[in-house]
Each structure stands twice: as C-alpha cells, then as structure tokens.
Amino acid sequence: MKDVPERDEMTLIRDAAKGDASAFERLMREHEGRMYAVALRMCGNREDAQDCLQEAMLRIFRALGSFKGQSTFSTWVYRVTMNACLDELRRRKVRTASSLDVLLDNGWAPTSEDDTPEKYSIAADQRRYLQKAIASLPEDMRAAIVLRDVQGFSYDEIARVLDANVGTIKSRISRGREKLREILLKQPELFDRYPA
C-alpha cells in the first residue's frame, strides 16, 4: 500500500533531508493518517494525539539525514511515532487516561451522544467504550494491540516497530486481547448489540 513509488520516496527523503519542507510534506502524506490513528489510540484523546503526531513529524524531519534505510521507511516512521507516544505517556503519567475500572466504579457509562467529528460505522458509545478499554491497557500491550488489531500490522512489522522479537509480541497481543475482552465483558450488551 504505497502511494509514493519507492524511487520517488528515496528522492523525497533526500530532498527532505536537505531541509525541503514541501518534499517532507509529500513524503509523509501517506503516513500521517495512520500515524495520527496510532497516536490517538495510544494517548486516548485528540489533543495528546495531535501533540504526539507533531513531535513524531519533527523527530523524523530532523533525523532524516541519518536514515540510511536499515529498515523500510514506513517501519521507521511508525517506530518513531510509537516512541513519541510512549515518551508522551511517560511524561504525562498523571494525565493518562483513567483506568476504565475506575471510571466504571465511579458510575461512568457510555452515552449515545455523538460529539466527535469522525463518521461511525458502529455506534458511538460502543466506539467510545472500546477506545477507553484500549486506553486502559498497560502500555506494552496497548502498543501491540493498537498496531495489530486496530491498524492491522503483521507480527513481523510490529516486532520491528516495537523493537522486540516476534515471540514477545505474540505474548503481549495474547495477554492484551484477554484483558481487553475481560474489560468489554463488563458491558456485555456491547456484544449483544453487535451483529453475530
């Protein structure tokens, strides 16, 4: 899935590395949406996702000169994005999304109010509840689940992005799915409302 041919990609990388912002914008056009989605699911809110996206873009722009093609460009881009998100989460530990258990204990319940600009193919409350559930996962499991089950990366790609071996990634995904299912089962009607 490449909008920019490989040869063009290398040319754009070289131009951007020399400080050409336009070339950089063209280069990143095909990645920005997915980078934002990863950041949104990792951070749990749009403001932090926007900050992380901006930080990741700046890191990539500054480090382009040292990108020697050890991995594919897209793998490197998502690795930088994920690192920016993890750094942000660590910095804002106290501000990270509250645990879903705590929210539920405090009487939080999904509402049907649609206050986001995104178009929904599933109910807004279902989406919001799932987002909260993902955000409440531990960081390492969250990163693996977001890349695998939300973004559809392969196990090999995830291993390269998160700089871990495939066995570790499989284990994180397995434990993450188990935990996510346990959380979602606290609202069993979500499954009932979803078509079989």
């Binding site: 590395a17 020399k18 400080g19 050409d20 912002a21 950089f24 914008e25 920005e32 949406g33 934002y36 989605a37 949104l40 699911r41 749009r46 996702a49 926007q50 900050d51 996206l53 901006q54 873009m57 700046l58 722009f61 500054r62 480090a63 382009l64 000169g65 040292s66 600009p117 995104e118 178009k119 929904y120 193919s121 599933i122 279902q126 989406r127 799932l130 987002q131 993902i134 689940i145 089950d149 939300v150 973004q151 559809g152 196990y155 499989k170 995904i173 397995s174 799915r177 996510l180 299912r181 979602l184 089962l185 979500l190 499954f191 979803y194 079989a196």
Partner: protein
C-alpha cells in the same frame, strides 16, 4: 483427549486461529470443538466480535485539519531555522562544539606548559619543578602537603628545640623503657627524606655521597648501581642508596647532599608516633605489674592445676611484654636515625656540536623532527591537563546536563506554542 484438555488447547490456539496462522487440520478440529462446547463457542464469538470492533474502530477515521496544519507549521518553522540533520545546522553545531573543546584544551595545555599560576589554580595542583641547588627555589613535601622553603616542615612542637633529640639519644642508648615524668612531654617523631640528584660526574658524586654519609656518622643500608656510563657507550648509570643518618644532623646532611649535584626531586616526611609510643609504654608498665603479681601468686599456688594456669598466663604476659618492647625499640631506633633515600643519575656532559653547513634536506629533517617532538610533548601535556580536569567534570557534567535539559525544555515549549 478430554473436554478440559480440548478447551485448554482451544484457548491456547485461539489467537493463531483468529490471525489465520493455523494449519488446516488444527483449524478444523477447533471449529469442531467449538460446535460441541458452548463455553469455547462463546469465547470464540466474543473474541471475534471484539477484533471486528477493533478493526472497524479507525475505519473512517480522518486526521483533523488542525492536527494536519499543526505539524506542517512546526516542520516549516524547523526548516526555516536551517537544514535539519547532520547534513545541516546540527553539523555546524557539532563542528562548533569540537572546535570550542579543542581551543579550550589547547589554551589549557599552553597555560600548563608555560606554568602560569592561573593554570595551576585551575587544575588544583602544584607543579613539582626540577629544583636547582638554590635553596630558595626548593619545594618540600611533608605529610602530603607542599610548602615553600621558608615553611620548612615543623618537626617539633612549639617550644621544643634540638635538645629534645638529646633526650632521644639518651633513650636510644639505654635498653630500658622507663615511663618517668621526663618523657611525658617528649614528642616521638620519625623522619624520612629522599633526594634525586643528577650529575655528569657520576663517580665523583657517588664517592662524595658515601663520604658524606660516613662524615655524618651515618650508615648505608642498601646501595644499588645500574647501567653503563656514556663513555662506555651506555645510556648512563643510576644509583639507589638507602642510608641511616642521625636525626640530629639530618638537615645539615641534606644541605650538604644537595650541593653534590643538580637536585631534581626532594621530599621530606615526618610521622608523629608520640601517642602510640606513650600508649605502648603505659601498656608495658601495666603488663610488668601484672607479671610481678603473677610471679608472686605462683609462690602461694594451692594446687598443681592452679600453678599450670598461672604459668600459662605468665608466658602470655611475657610474650606481650616482648612484643611491646620490640615496638618501642624500633621507634626509638627510627627516631634517632632518619631514613634517607638517595637516587643518583648520570647525565651526559653538555656538548653542542653545530654542523658546519646544513643542506635543505637536513634542515627539513631537523624542522620536522623538532615539530614532531613538540607535538609529542604537547599531546602528553594535553593528557596531563585532561587528567587534571577529570575531578572537575564530576561537578561540570551534571551542571551542563541540567543546563542542556532546561534549554531543551524551553525550546520545546516555545515550539508547541
């Protein structure tokens, strides 16, 4: 295989099934199991729905326009500041930092080479220069502290003079360890000194040194001569002499010794063992009293066992007395005779042979050799300067790190605004 085992295997393989990583036969057996097991069927159904929800979560997600605009603006501002990466602005930063570090090192080394006081203060060290025979230029080291000549090591407490050494000599002469009042205020100080001298008349210097030791009623403890003389085609001789000199005439001896050649290093130390000496004397006195009492008790011993016990104790006390007496004897000996270590080095006679006429090749070779020699010395001095700076880095590095972090944080906040 039991149902429990099947369910466990089902759970173990569930993720691979959902990720499509299973072999056909395993997949079919899992589907078969799900048809017959309500729990596993529910697990499969819930997990499948959950993954479908996850996959659809961002299906129609679009990056908000403010987010698109924000990163583009940030990148353009970054680009406007200069070229990114090591090919651009940062490269100049790196070059600048290296150049600044080199200039700093060069300056510090040159200051060190010229032995400016500022450099010595900066490095927190003192220069031990090759002292000449001029007494006023000499530097002494006493117990690790360096003093100028006018602050020569204090060997005696206030008010004490060389008469104190007279007492020492008296004590050394005897073999008893009285603890009378005459010794109560006396200080026991062990002195040592070392000298390194060089001369182009090695044999004469050796002979004079031996004569000097003899003249001052000293004795040579150890003497070693190594190497071959320049006349015999060698690279010069060295001698190491350890001598014992009466402490009373040590200063006079050292002054006379310094006149025998060029002094390249001198060191004098003094160790005050008065407290330990007095403690040992007191202990010795107590032990002797105890020995007298034990001897008296043996005369009135009631049984053989008692007598044997007393004799054991007497032997133990006697052994302690011997050990303490030996220690006192050693200190007295060391107090009355100071140890002087003398290193003598033969140097070639200074001769300057100027070539009658030098051709261009020889001049180039000479200039190159001179530059190489300068560079070698400069690098060695740089190493010394760096080593001197090392302790300061303990404070400087964290300070630089904090400064850097603060600047980075401020820049980051500005960028976000």
């Amino acid at each position: 295989m039991s149902k429990v085992m099947d369910c466990r295997a089902f759970e173990e393989n569930l993720n691979d099934l959902l990720d499509g990583l299973l072999e056909e036969d395993v997949r079919l057996s899992m589907e078969e199991h799900a048809r017959n097991c309500a729990d596993c069927a529910l697990l499969l159904d819930q997990t499948t729905k959950m993954l479908t929800m996850c996959a659809e979560l961002d299906e129609d997600l679009e990056i908000p326009l403010p987010a698109q605009a924000a990163w583009r603006k940030a990148v353009r501002m970054e680009a406007a500041k200069g070229k990114p990466g090591p090919n651009g602005r940062n490269k100049w930063k790196v070059f600048g930092s290296i150049a600044a570090a080199f200039v700093l090192l060069f300056g510090a080394t040159m200051a060190y080479r010229s032995q400016k006081p500022a450099a010595s203060m900066l490095l927190g060290s003192q220069y031990r220069t090759a002292a000449t025979n001029t007494a006023s230029e000499a530097v002494y080291e006493t117990d690790g502290a360096w003093y100028a000549d006018e602050r020569a090591p204090v060997m005696f407490a206030d008010g004490e003079t060389e008469e104190a050494l007279g007492v020492t000599a008296d004590v050394a002469a005897g073999d008893t360890f009285d603890t009378g009042k005459t010794q109560e205020n006396r200080q026991v100080i062990l002195r040592s000194a070392s000298r390194s001298l060089e001369s182009n008349t090695f044999d004469q210097m050796m002979e004079s040194t031996a004569g000097l030791i003899s003249d001052f009623d000293g004795r040579v403890e150890n003497s070693t001569v190594r190497g071959r003389s320049f006349e015999d085609g060698g690279s010069g001789r060295t001698a190491e002499i350890t001598a014992r000199i009466p402490s009373a005439s040590l200063d006079e001896f050292l002054s006379a010794l310094d006149a025998l050649g060029t002094v390249t290093a001198r060191r004098e130390t003094s160790e005050d063992v008065t407290e330990r000496y007095v403690d040992t004397q007191s202990r010795l006195e107590a032990l002797r009293t105890q020995l007298t009492r034990l001897n008296e008790l043996t005369k009135t011993a009631a049984s053989l066992d008692e007598l044997l016990l007393l004799e054991d104790k007497i032997a133990q006390v006697q052994s302690e007395i011997d050990s303490n007496e030996q220690m006192l004897r050693y200190w007295q000996s060391r107090e009355s005779e100071s140890v002087v270590s003398i290193d003598l080095t033969e140097i070639p006679a200074y001769e300057r042979t100027q070539p009658i006429e030098e051709n261009v090749g020889e001049r180039i070779r000479a200039a190159f050799s001179q530059s190489l020699s300068w560079l070698k010395e400069f690098l060695q001095d740089s190493l010394v300067v760096l080593a001197g700076f090392a302790p300061h880095l303990v404070i400087l590095l964290p300070a630089i790190a904090i400064l850097w972090a603060a600047v980075h944080l401020i820049r980051r906040r500005k960028r976000k605004k």
